[in-house]
Amino acid sequence: MARAAATRARALPIAEPRALRLDRVIHERVRLGMLSALAVHETLTFTAIKKLLDTSDGNLSVHARKLETAGYVACDKGFAGRVPRTEYRLTTAGRRALERYLDHMEALIRTTREA
């Protein structure tokens, strides 16, 4: 018991600073899901992402704008016939940010396992 507590205490100083450096833009579920889906597709429409993540128009709009502001996704607006069509694609900065986030999560797991 005391040994486990000591192990946790040793592990915390390593895990905490890393947790503080977490990319908060990606950490939210809808934004993380959007980046993950765009990592597999060249482009995805607003409708496809909404369906995939099972979220509302308003919620997705807010999160997509945050990713756009951070420079992680690029948005192209156009028309398919007469219907408005919004397409998103992952930018290079977005791909790097997702890779950093994945490294971060793996490092957290590794640190806990080693401790």
Binding site: L32, S36, V40, E42, T47, L53, A80, L108
Partner: protein, 200 residues
């Protein structure tokens, strides 16, 4: 007296959250890499076209007429399927010419294209009775390979076609019945299932 903090309020360990996030990323990627625009209702329509073709073909006596009926059926079913696929993909906002849509089509089309020269060789050698088995087997092979990028019933449908093709090949006298059961029955059954479970 109730405790101020119940057991559910204990903080979740960091590594557990990290593992949960990684699982979420993996599942989202896998889900988005699945081609979900396979048109269930379109498949039902293709099945009805095939049933009509098998009824007409069963009433013909000449080999050439039989072949033309099935070629016409293939062309009509292809147009119905392609239109339904485009419509479902457009409604879902899924790209057909890139990503998983392209992989799906690239998996489906080569075995179907192979059916053209093989059919020609069989006809040239007077082996028309083997056509049913070959068509069902090749179509099934295409559906299985394309189905690797799609929802679960699609590769299963391909396997059923391949079984039907093997039976038609082993018992050529059952060729017409297997064509009706395969292109008609299987399309209708799986199409209805896909339409109900995967939105149209």
């Amino acid at each position: 007296m109730l405790p101020l903090r119940g057991p559910t309020l204990d903080p979740v360990p960091l590594h557990a959250r990290a593992m949960d996030n990684l699982r979420f990323i993996r599942e989202t990627m896998a889900r988005s890499a699945t081609f979900t625009a396979v048109p269930g209702r379109g498949m039902v329509a293709m099945g009805l076209v095939a049933l009509a073709a098998s009824w007409i073909a069963s009433r013909t006596t000449a080999a050439a007429s039989w072949l033309w009926v099935w070629l016409g059926c293939a062309a009509l079913a292809f147009m119905v399927g392609a239109a339904a696929l485009r419509r479902k993909a457009a409604l879902a906002g899924l790209p057909l010419h890139s990503g998983v849509g392209r992989k799906f089509l690239l998996g489906l089309l080569p075995p179907m294209a192979a059916a053209v020269p093989i059919s020609y060789f069989l006809l040239r050698n007077g082996q028309r009775e083997l056509l049913a088995g070959v068509w069902l087997l090749l179509y099934g092979a295409g559906v299985v390979t394309a189905g690797a990028f799609s929802v679960r019933p699609v590769p299963l449908l391909g396997l059923c076609f391949m079984v039907a093709g093997a039976i038609a090949g082993a018992f050529p006298a059952w060729g017409d019945a297997m064509l009706a059961a395969g292109f008609g029955g299987l399309h209708i059954a799986f199409g209805a299932l896909i339409a109900r479970r995967y939105g149209g």
